[in-house]
């Protein structure tokens, strides 16, 4: 075994990737990611031991967030960038104050000055270094939740919104992972607290996005193409998008969104850019063929990158932020925060316009404020029986054929059911033309995966309007699709908010040990998915 990673839904054989990641990362990248996480745990132990105040750790807070984010599935495949980050974090770690009385674990004291030393150390500190499979399972579930939180925290920070309590929780939880005295019960409690901070992180990002760009509103987004050369932007970072739109304005280069960037079109502030044309293609995993047809440069502001198979496509891919891929140009912000996209724009001008994949448009923008503005209509439709049930089908899309379940499920739902969605899971059913109920579309897209927060707010509002004491008494069912760690934090956030009986698919996480899985089933009613017909019947009864 040259690596071990089971953080995503596509873990090899449903158990874990041991020679190369299904995501495409090689053992070197995977192992260096393990070491990066280990260094960060050591930093957390030091911060906790000295009770260092968050406001004295400004640089460190951001760097720790970046480290967690870099190790998310499909974000950074660049071994050299990860090795550099390890060196940087070791320096930051060793600069933190300490005292002779502190009991310092290995993660605080070890040194790895060379790449070889990093490689040697990395093989001893990965997932399997925790022997007890239940403790390992809980530690990893918390870690993956933190990674998802870190993504949201970094996007918010890029827009100038930070919350020190989130950083404090990162340190607390990361340090707890080095504590072999913690019981399984204590780790279960910490898992739920991770969900609590996940809600905070999503709320912070919601505030960051909406305070800068306005509240998402109902929007029809073109899925066709124009005849101009163009840049495709993927990932989740709206601050990067804003800079790209400003720099491309008036250049004759159009901008299209891909996958998780689609919801950017729903924000009022981006509507003034006439060259912000529409959305191109589908969910992340289709990028290998869609990028070929796009012809122009592609900017990844975060995951999900699929390793490009041709040099031609690789030459058109640019990364920024926590994303990275060897051989692709990485754009770093200047001291004033400006990212210079001129090389991409110049390249775009030399390339043909995108090839048309489809025509027409899709509708979205049903985040919390827009839905609450329609609350009277929604409530009336529920009271009249026109809407019988809401289905939250948020989450991720992925490669597995078994995800065709979600398309079939959406099609099989009774006509008086409405789907609430967020994240790239939507691509399984957002072009089906499922119609509307009294003017309310049957697929309501709130936005990116973090906008699951919007769906939670909507549920809480409906609970209030209908005077229910328990959120689970609402006519809302949860059939969530997951792939990577942002979906893990969304799940933990929903559990923290008291949502029960969530169905999770297409398969349950490999990182759940049988015992931890049992706790989730018994305590929270988590279940997998079955066949479409039985599941629709089960949900409509419940």
């Amino acid at each position: 075994m040259s690596m071990f990673c089971y953080q995503c839904q596509e873990a090899a054989g449903g158990k874990g990737c041991t020679t190369q990641g299904v995501c495409g990362k090689n053992a070197e990248v995977s192992n260096l990611q393990d070491l990066l996480i280990y260094v960060v745990k050591g930093i957390a132990a030091k911060v906790m031991a000295r009770k260092l105040p968050m406001d004295t750790l400004v640089t460190l807070n951001r760097e720790v967030t970046t480290c967690l984010f870099m190790t998310i599935t499909n974000a950074n495949f660049d071994d050299a960038a990860i090795a550099r980050q390890i060196s940087r974090m070791l320096t930051l770690r060793d600069a933190l104050p300490t005292s002779a009385d502190d009991m310092l674990p290995d993660a605080v004291t070890f040194q790895a000055d060379t790449l070889d030393a990093m490689r040697r150390k990395a093989t001893t500190v990965g997932v399997l270094a925790t022997g007890n499979e239940d403790v390992r399972s809980l530690r990893e579930m918390i870690l993956y939740g933190l990674k998802g939180m870190a993504a949201y925290t970094e996007h918010a920070a890029n827009l100038g919104k930070e919350d020190e309590t989130l950083y404090a929780f990162f340190y607390e939880a990361l340090a707890a992972m080095l504590d072999d005295t913690l019981t399984a019960d204590a780790l279960v409690a910490l898992t739920l607290r991770t969900g609590e901070y996940g809600v905070k992180a999503m709320a912070l990002l919601d505030e960051a996005n909406t305070s800068r760009y306005g509240h998402p509103e109902i929007t029809s987004v073109s899925i066709g193409v124009r005849e101009n050369p163009a840049i495709l932007i993927s990932g989740h970072d709206l601050a990067d998008l804003e800079q790209l739109l400003k720099q491309t304005e008036g250049t004759g280069v159009d901008v299209y969104t891909h996958s998780e960037m689609l919801p950017a079109h729903y924000y009022p502030a981006f509507k003034k850019y006439s060259h912000f044309v529409g959305n191109y293609g589908n969910a992340w995993w289709k990028q290998l063929t869609e990028f070929e047809a796009f012809h122009g440069p592609i900017l990844f502001t975060t995951n999900c990158i699929v390793p490009p198979k041709s040099d031609e496509i690789r030459s058109r891919i640019f990364t920024t932020g926590s994303a990275g891929f060897p051989g692709c140009r990485h754009i770093v912000a200047q001291a004033d925060g400006v990212k210079d996209f001129s090389e991409m724009i110049a390249l775009a001008k030399t390339l043909p316009a995108p090839r048309e994949l489809e025509q027409g448009s899709i509708i979205g923008g049903f985040a919390h404020q827009q839905v609450l503005a329609l609350a009277d209509k929604v409530v009336a439709a529920v009271q009249s029986g026109a809407i019988k049930k809401f289905f939250v089908m948020a989450g991720c899309d992925g490669r597995m054929k078994s995800r065709e379940y979600y398309t079939a499920f959406a099609q099989a739902l009774p006509k008086d059911a409405v789907i609430l969605t967020a994240g790239c899971a939507k691509y399984r059913y957002n072009k089906l033309g499922l119609g509307d109920i009294d003017g309310i579309p049957r697929v309501l897209d709130a936005g990116q995966c973090n906008d699951s927060y919007s769906l939670a707010l909507i549920a809480l509002k409906l609970q209030e309007v209908f005077g229910l004491s328990d959120i689970n008494d609402l006519p809302i069912a949860f059939n969530i699709a997951w792939y990577e760690q942002k979906a893990v934090i969304v799940l933990l956030a929903l559990l923290y908010l008291g949502v029960r009986n969530i169905h999770l698919g297409p398969t349950l996480p490999s990182f759940l040990s049988p015992n931890v899985g049992k706790v989730l089933v018994e305590k929270f009613g988590i279940a997998g998915i079955g066949n479409v017909e039985d599941d629709v019947e089960l949900f409509m009864q419940g």
């Binding site: 596509e10 090899a12 054989g13 449903g14 990737c17 041991t18 020679t19 190369q20 990641g21 299904v22 995501c23 495409g24 995993w285 290998l288 063929t289 390793p307 198979k309 490669r399 597995m400 054929k401 078994s402």
Partner: protein, 62 residues
């Protein structure tokens, strides 16, 4: 169309068997195998999808 897998490089992820179960399956050693040599015409698109989606590019269609 014929399908073959370079099993030396297979990582046993199961994506091909999931994508095109009438041509590929997971063998007892945990690695994938093409259990029909000639890909039926109606499976060609799925076999191609499996080959394109293979994270280690070990599926060959000729």
């Amino acid at each position: 169309m014929q399908a073959s897998i370079d099993r030396e490089g297979c990582i046993g992820c199961g994506l091909c068997a999931d994508t095109c179960p009438n041509v590929f399956r997971m063998a007892d050693d945990g690695l994938a195998e093409a259990f029909v040599r000639d890909v039926p015409a109606q499976e060609e698109a799925a076999a191609q999808e499996a080959a394109d989606g293979c994270p280690v590019s070990v599926i060959t269609l000729t």
